[in-house]
């Protein structure tokens, strides 16, 4: 039982081997190989139709794979029905039983395992306290707010000490502030329980803030996987750079290569970029992804290696930051963000400003 000790229990490991699911002629999941380490927090991230939910439903046992296998600690569970897998699941929209009280909802997984309510009461209580819902045990789900329902769904999914916890966009129905709070709570819950979490979302912020590992899915295939920081800093493709955070894309022609860096020309503007020698050849095409927050903004021409000037066409103020759209001669429209309190330029439409960045601020991506 979750007792508040830090990461005491080692979770279970899950592996997918060449998993696929075909609906008619459409492959929703197309040969996915994946290893989820013990006790990790793994996020399946992708736009709708990328196959992330289908993968989760196959792991849970609600979708029968067309091919491949699912292994829990090397045990093949591909053909197990959902009730024989011992996985906790938090559904999109919570799926609390409306005819049962909060306490009975949490008792349910214990009840079907033959535990009487009297014997289960201690577990129900501590599960409720773990999600700070102890005082609402006798309420019905319809009497709770969305955030409270979400906490109950979470308590119900962990009370029976499942081998895995599966979460299907659990925060998507909540407002932004509550979503941010629950991200902290989920992460701390994961650390306390030590259970392996598999989390599905289309929200890149949730993925970045909580996960040990992010799997980015596209058209039923894994596009890229890795730690949040590594994925954000080194996106392999244009798709990843665009989906995980925002990016400007500079398309150019490679000039010369020298000392682990190369020059390229984009719209007549010569620029310098480090790395990725294997993806580039002289006179070949190249795509460089440049994060908006890595562009320094200044009123005068900066000393940075790469610098272009442009006119502000639009800007938004977010309190903590400014977001600018800047029309440049050579590179087209670029977006750039800067902390509002250190903003070096006059934020007004039509104002001409300079954008500067170093060769290692941007990254070469494959154009797909």
């Amino acid at each position: 039982m979750p007792d508040g000790s830090t990461g005491a229990r080692s979770g279970h490991a899950l592996s997918l081997r060449n998993l696929s699911k075909v609906y008619g002629s459409l492959a929703a999941v197309d040969g996915v190989d994946l290893d989820v380490p013990r006790g990790s927090f793994l996020t399946l991230l992708g736009p709708s139709g990328s196959g992330k939910t289908t993968i989760l439903m196959a792991i849970a046992g609600f979708v029968e794979p067309s091919g491949g296998s699912i292994l829990l600690d090397d045990k093949d569970i591909t053909r197990f029905p959902p009730d024989k897998r011992n996985f906790g699941m938090v559904f999109q929209g919570y799926a609390l039983f409306p005819h049962m009280t909060v306490a009975d909802n949490i008792w349910f997984p214990l009840k079907v395992r033959g535990v009487s309510k009297a014997d289960a009461s201690a577990k129900i209580k501590s599960a409720l306290e773990l999600v700070q819902m102890g005082h609402l045990a006798e309420r019905y789900p319809s009497q709770l707010s969305g955030g409270q329902q979400q906490r109950v769904a979470l308590a119900r999914a962990i009370v029976f000490e499942p081998d895995l916890l599966l979460l299907d966009e659990p925060l998507s129905a909540l407002d932004k502030k509550l979503r941010a709070d629950l991200q902290w709570e989920l992460k701390s819950l994961h650390q306390r329980l030590g259970t392996t979490f598999i989390y599905v979302t289309h929200d890149q912020e949730e993925a970045l803030s909580m996960s040990d590992t992010i799997i980015i899915l596209r058209d039923g295939k894994i596009e890229q996987q890795g730690q949040p920081g590594a994925l954000y800093e080194k996106p392999a493709t244009r798709f990843v750079a665009d989906f995980l955070g925002k990016s400007n894309f500079l398309q150019g022609t490679v000039g010369e290569k020298k000392d682990g860096a190369f020059t390229y020309v984009c719209g007549g503007q010569p620029l310098v970029q480090v790395g990725a020698a294997e993806h580039t050849k002289v006179n070949g095409d190249v795509v460089v992804a440049l994060r908006p927050e890595k562009i320094a903004l200044s009123a005068e021409r900066p000393a940075a290696t790469n610098a272009v000037s442009g006119k502000i066409t639009a800007f938004n103020y977010y309190g903590s930051a400014y977001h600018f759209q800047v029309q440049t001669e050579a590179l087209g429209e670029l977006i750039a963000t800067t902390p509002a309190w250190t903003c070096q330029i006059e934020p007004s439409i039509g104002n001409t400003i300079w954008l500067g960045w170093e060769p290692d601020a941007s990254v070469v991506v494959r154009d797909r």
Binding site: P81, G93, V112
Partner: protein, 278 residues
């Protein structure tokens, strides 16, 4: 709501209210009035409920047939509705069409059709005899069996529709959630789906039982005079023995028993909720 708008709504329902008053409430009051005044003023007609063995027997037949009909209809209706809620869109449309099809046939035609099927030389008996499964024809009609078959057939859509309508409001993922939390398919149904479909079941039970109590044509035709239920006896009293006092007493009692059964159910469930008023 705006006061003047509310007045418009009252005017809109006024014709219906007027129609009900003139053609429904007024005759009803007259029925109640005759039952305590004909042939002599007093509760003499009602004492027959206690004194006369024939009326006891008719009432017992009525209640027995109604209860059996209701149980069979609601169970079958639940199965049909559950299947409709599970299958794909195309099959569902076809099933709904078949359920409603019986509504479009005259109740008289349906009762006669059952007589044709169930009688001694009917399709079922001759078929079974030719297959060598029976030597003597079975008595399938002019008894309670025949009446119940005909009544269940008539009542089935009345059970399917409220149950199905309730089931469409049950989220599929609740059953999935139960399965995911470790419940077998049967336990997930018993502990989650069945309780959630209870309002539909209760609505169907009330609807079918109340309808059955006053049912006339089907019991009269399929009972063939052997299974006399209240409404048939009312008709006999009105038109053949011309005992209007007795007829109106029985009609009034029928009405009260409908109210009584609703009141009984209301003790256990919120009827407003069941019938969607809340």
């Amino acid at each position: 709501m705006h006061a003047s708008l509310r007045r418009v709504y009252w005017w809109l329902i006024a014709p219906a209210v007027l129609l009900m008053l003139v053609f429904y409430i007024y005759p009803l009051i007259q029925v109640l009035w005759i039952s305590v005044t004909d042939p002599v003023p007093g509760l003499g007609n009602y004492s027959e409920l206690i004194d006369r063995a024939l009326i006891h027997r008719i009432w017992m037949t009525t209640i027995r047939v109604c209860v059996i009909t209701t149980v069979i209809t609601v169970v079958c209706g639940y199965i049909v509705a559950y299947t409709m809620a599970q299958v794909g869109e195309r099959q569902r449309t076809w099933m709904m069409f078949c359920v409603l099809l019986t509504f479009w046939l005259s109740v008289l035609i349906r009762a006669f059709a059952w007589v044709m099927l169930l009688r001694t030389q009917g399709l079922i008996n001759t078929g079974l005899q030719e297959l060598g499964l029976i030597d003597q024809p079975l008595r399938l009609v002019r008894n309670e069996f025949g009446v119940i078959v005909g009544m269940v057939h008539f009542m089935l859509p009345l059970a399917v529709l409220p149950i199905y309508s309730n089931m469409t409001g049950i989220q599929d993922r609740l059953v999935s959630a139960a399965r995911g939390l470790g419940a077998s398919p049967w336990v997930a149904f018993k502990d989650v789906y069945l309780p959630l479909s209870k309002p539909g079941l209760i609505a169907a039970t009330i609807l079918v039982f109340v309808f059955s109590l006053g049912f006339f044509i089907t019991p009269a035709l399929l009972g063939g005079g052997k299974v006399v239920m209240i409404s048939e006896y009312i008709q006999v009293s009105f038109e053949e023995t011309l005992r209007w006092g007795q007829a109106t007493m029985l009609a009034s009692t029928l009405l009260f028993s409908v109210f009584l059964s609703l009141a009984l159910v209301a003790r256990f469930v919120d009827l407003k909720k069941v019938f969607g008023a809340r």
